[in-house]
C-alpha cells in the first residue's frame, strides 16, 4: 500500500464518560466530510457503543461484531452510508459482552483493517476509561485527541488518560526486555515501592538498567505522542483554560507537550438533538459548537 493511500486516523478519547467524546467525534467527522475528505467515523466504544444513535440509526444492520466474528471480511463491508456526503459510519453496537474485552488478536485485526480502509480520514470515537483496549486504539492514531470538560474531575481523568497512554506506549516498547517492562509496569502504579512517581523518575531508573540510548529512544516516543486537547462544553471564558492545566501538569510530570487545540462552546441544542435521536449532523450550522469544531478541524488538518 502506498503511504499516501494510508488514511489519517484521529482518535478521540478522554477518560471520563459524559465529556462529549462522541459529540466531538461526530462533528469533526462531519466537517472533514464537508470539506470534501472521504471520512469514516468508527465507534470503538466497545461495550458501550452509542454513536449510531447520534447519527439517527436505531438498530445498525452491521457492526464491528460482524467483522470480528468473520461474518464480513473487511471493514468496508460493514461501513454504513450516512446522510452526509463523503461520510461513512462503522457501528460498534451489538453483543456487549464479547466485544467489551476483545482479545489482542481481535484488536490487532481491527487496527490492521483500519489502515486498509479506502478513505482519507478515520475518526475513532473511543470508549470511556483508560483500559488497554482504549489506549491501544488511541496510540495508533495520527492525531491523538483528548476531550475534557471544564470540571476538576474531568481534568484529572483526562490527565490520567494521557499519563496511562504514555506508560502503555513505554510498556509496549519494552516488551522484548522483561526487566525494563517490569520496571515500567511497576511505575504505572503511583504508589510503587520503588518510589518512581513521574516519567522523569522512570527515565532515570531506566538509564540505570538500559543506558542512555534507551532513555533517548523512549523520550522521543513520549514526545511523539503529543496529545491534542479539546475542552468541550465551555460556558465561561475561564473554562477554556482546562487544556492549559493539563498542558502544564503534563509538561512537568510526564515530559510530554500536549497541544491545546481549542474549545467547543456549550450548546443546549446538542442535548436536545441527542435526546430526540435526531442525527447530530442536523445541528443548525449557526450553532457555536459547530463553528468551534470547524476551527479545531482546520487546526488539526
Amino acid at each position: 500500500m502506498n503511504v499516501a493511500d494510508v488514511p489519517q486516523i484521529w482518535a478521540v478519547g478522554g477518560g471520563k464518560g459524559g465529556v462529549g467524546k462522541s459529540t466531538v467525534s461526530t462533528l469533526m467527522a462531519f466537517w472533514l466530510a464537508r470539506m470534501g475528505k472521504r471520512t469514516v467515523l468508527v465507534d470503538v466504544d466497545l461495550g458501550g457503543a452509542n454513536l449510531h444513535t447520534m447519527m439517527g440509526i436505531k438498530s445498525p444492520p452491521r457492526t464491528l461484531n460482524d467483522f470480528v466474528s468473520k461474518r464480513f471480511g473487511t471493514l468496508e463491508d460493514i461501513c454504513l452510508e450516512t446522510e452526509v456526503e463523503n461520510l461513512m459510519l462503522i457501528c460498534g453496537a451489538g453483543d456487549v459482552l464479547s466485544m467489551a474485552n476483545p482479545h489482542v488478536a481481535q484488536k490487532a485485526k481491527i487496527i490492521q483493517h483500519l489502515y486498509r480502509l479506502n478513505t482519507e480520514y478515520i475518526v475513532l470515537d473511543l470508549g470511556a476509561g483508560t483500559s488497554f483496549n482504549v489506549l491501544d486504539f488511541f496510540l495508533v492514531a495520527t492525531k491523538k485527541i483528548v476531550v475534557l470538560s471544564p470540571q476538576p474531575i474531568a481534568i484529572q481523568n483526562a490527565y490520567a488518560f494521557v499519563r496511562n497512554a504514555i506508560y502503555r506506549r513505554l510498556s509496549r516498547l519494552s516488551s522484548q526486555q522483561p526487566p525494563l517492562q517490569a520496571l515500567i509496569k511497576t511505575a504505572m502504579d503511583i504508589n510503587n515501592e520503588l518510589k518512581v512517581r513521574t516519567v522523569r523518575d522512570l527515565l532515570m531508573a531506566i538509564e540505570d538498567i538500559s543506558g542512555n540510548d534507551m532513555v533517548d529512544t523512549l523520550q522521543r516516543e513520549i514526545e511523539e505522542i503529543r496529545p491534542q486537547l479539546i475542552t468541550n462544553m465551555v460556558n465561561h471564558p475561564k473554562d477554556k483554560n482546562a487544556g492549559r492545566v493539563i498542558q502544564l501538569v503534563a509538561e512537568k510530570y510526564l515530559l510530554t507537550h500536549p497541544v491545546n487545540v481549542g474549545a467547543v462552546v456549550y450548546d443546549k441544542q446538542i442535548e436536545a438533538i441527542v435526546s430526540d435521536m435526531v442525527p447530530l449532523t442536523k445541528l443548525v450550522q449557526s450553532s457555536d459548537a459547530f463553528a468551534s469544531v470547524y476551527d479545531i478541524v482546520m487546526k488539526l488538518m
Binding site: 477518560g15 471520563k16 464518560g17 459524559g18 461495550g47 459482552l97 467489551a100 474485552n101 482479545h103 489482542v104 476509561g129 483500559s131 488497554f132 483496549n133 471544564p150 476538576p152 474531575i153 481534568i155 484529572q156 481523568n157 490527565y159 490520567a160 499519563r163 522483561p178 526487566p179 525494563l180 517490569a182 520496571l183 509496569k185 511497576t186 503511583i190 504508589n191 520503588l194 512517581r197 513521574t198 531508573a205 540505570d208 538498567i209 465561561h236 475561564k238 473554562d239 483554560n241 482546562a242 492549559r244 492545566v245 493539563i246 502544564l248 501538569v249 512537568k252 510530570y253
Partner: protein
C-alpha cells in the same frame, strides 16, 4: 502391628498422592474396606471407576467422598468431589444443598476461598459451581506462563503451586520472588473484567495438584446474572494481596486524596437493631480509595446526641453521570469539630469497608494520579479556572 499400620498408611498416602497406582477394583475395594471414611482415598477410587467408565459407581463414590469432606469441614474438596460427580452423571438439576449448608456453618472466614463460596446464595453457589472445572496436573506442570492472559482463577484443592515473579530490583538487577499457594489457596487476577491483564508470574505445580478452574468469561457470565458474585470476586482478589495489599491500601489512603466536593448522604446505623439509622447530608472534603472525609450539614447537631465513632455507615455519593450514585459501606474512624466562617461544623473520617466493583472502579478512576500531580491540577484549577 505398628509397623503394619505405618506401612498401610504409607500405601494410602502413596495412592492419594498419585505415587502408587492401583489398577484392580477388588484390590482398591480391600483398601477402602479397611479405610471407609477416608474421603481422599474415596476420590481416587472414584477416579479409577470413572476411568473404567463405571459412571454410576464413580458418581456414588464421589458423592460419598463429598459428604465425608463436608463432615471434616474440607469444603473446597467437597466442592471438587461434587463437581466430579456432576461430570460423570448429567443430572437434570444439580444439587449441592449439603455443601451450601456446610458453608453456612463453616467458621473459616480466614480462608478467602471459603469466604468467597460461603457468602453466596444457593442459586449463586450452583451457578458458580456449574462453571468450575476440575484440573489435575503433575509436578512441574505449568499452569500459567508469565505474560499469559489472566483468564482464569484457580483454586487449589490438593497439592501446592509455586508462583515465580521476576521484577526489576532497586539496583537495576532482576529480583525473583517465589511464593507458594497451598491447599485452599487460589491464584489468578481476573479483575477488572474489562482489562486484558497479563500474568506477572510463572505458575507451576510444585507437586501433583488438583485444582478447580474458573474461567474469566464464565465468571463474567455468572456475575451478569448474580452481581453479588462480582462483589465476592472483588473481595477474593483483594484478599490475595495479603499484607502487600493492606500496605498498598494504607499508602493509597495517605497519598492520593483528592479535594473535590461531592454531595453525600450519610446513613449512620445505631448499635441497637430496633433504632432507626440517622440520615445526614454533607459534602466530601476529600476522597481516597480507602476512605473519605465528610463535612456534615447542620442537621447533625439536632439529630445526634451520641458519638458516631465506630458506627457503621452507608454513604451515597451524588455523582453526575452516575444515575444510581455511588454507594459505599464504611465505619466512622474519627470525628472533629472545626470552626469555619464563625460557625462550627463537624468533620467525620470514614474508612471504607465494602463496595461493589463498579463503585471501586469509580473511586479508582478518581484517585489514581499522584499527590504532586493532583495538587498541581487543583492549584491550577483554582488560579486559572475557578470563577
Amino acid at each position: 502391628m505398628s509397623e503394619n499400620t505405618d506401612h498401610t498408611n504409607d500405601i494410602i498416602k502413596g495412592v492419594i498422592d498419585g505415587l502408587i497406582t492401583i489398577e484392580s477394583i477388588d484390590e482398591f475395594k480391600n483398601i477402602i474396606v479397611a479405610n471407609p471414611d477416608n474421603p481422599e482415598l474415596l476420590t481416587v477410587y472414584a477416579g479409577m471407576l470413572e476411568k473404567k467408565e463405571l459412571y454410576n459407581g464413580a458418581a456414588s463414590v464421589y458423592k460419598k467422598a463429598s459428604r465425608h469432606f463436608i463432615e471434616s469441614d474440607m469444603i473446597l474438596k467437597a466442592i471438587h468431589s461434587k463437581i466430579r460427580e456432576w461430570n460423570v452423571i448429567k443430572y437434570s438439576e444439580r444439587e449441592c444443598r449439603s455443601i451450601y449448608a456446610a458453608l453456612r456453618h463453616c467458621d473459616r472466614d480466614d480462608v478467602p476461598a471459603y469466604h468467597f463460596f460461603a457468602r453466596m446464595s444457593y442459586p449463586e453457589l450452583v451457578a458458580v459451581m456449574d462453571e468450575l472445572e476440575p484440573v489435575s496436573l503433575g509436578a512441574t506442570a505449568v499452569v500459567r506462563e508469565q505474560d499469559d492472559f489472566e483468564d482464569e482463577l484457580y483454586f487449589v484443592v490438593l497439592g501446592t503451586l509455586t508462583e515465580t515473579t521476576y521484577s526489576s530490583g532497586h539496583e537495576g538487577g532482576a529480583e525473583i520472588l517465589v511464593e507458594q499457594v497451598g491447599e485452599n489457596g487460589f491464584t489468578g487476577d481476573v479483575l477488572p473484567f474489562s482489562d486484558d491483564k497479563l500474568s506477572l508470574s510463572l505458575i507451576e505445580a510444585a507437586s501433583n495438584v488438583a485444582l478447580l478452574k474458573l474461567a474469566k468469561e464464565d465468571l463474567i457470565r455468572v456475575c451478569r446474572k448474580y452481581p453479588n458474585v462480582e462483589f465476592l470476586t472483588m473481595e477474593l482478589c483483594q484478599s490475595r494481596l495479603g499484607k502487600v495489599g493492606r500496605k498498598a491500601l494504607h499508602t493509597i489512603r495517605s497519598t492520593t486524596r483528592y479535594q473535590v466536593q461531592t454531595k453525600v448522604t450519610v446513613k449512620i446505623f445505631p448499635d441497637e437493631p430496633d433504632q432507626s439509622p440517622l440520615v445526614l447530608n454533607g459534602f466530601t472534603e476529600d476522597i481516597s480509595m480507602g476512605g473519605c472525609c465528610i463535612r456534615l450539614g447542620e442537621a447533625y447537631w439536632t439529630g445526634s446526641g451520641t458519638s458516631v465513632i465506630g458506627k457503621n455507615v452507608r454513604i451515597l455519593f451524588s455523582v453526575p453521570k452516575v444515575s444510581a450514585g455511588v454507594d459505599v459501606l464504611g465505619e466512622v474512624a474519627w470525628k472533629r469539630e472545626v470552626s469555619y466562617d464563625e460557625r462550627t461544623t463537624v468533620l467525620i473520617g470514614v474508612q471504607f469497608k465494602q463496595m461493589t466493583e463498579e463503585d471501586f472502579t469509580f473511586l479508582k478512576k478518581h484517585c489514581y494520579i499522584g499527590d504532586g500531580e493532583q495538587d498541581m491540577i487543583y492549584s491550577l484549577w483554582e488560579s486559572l479556572m475557578k470563577k
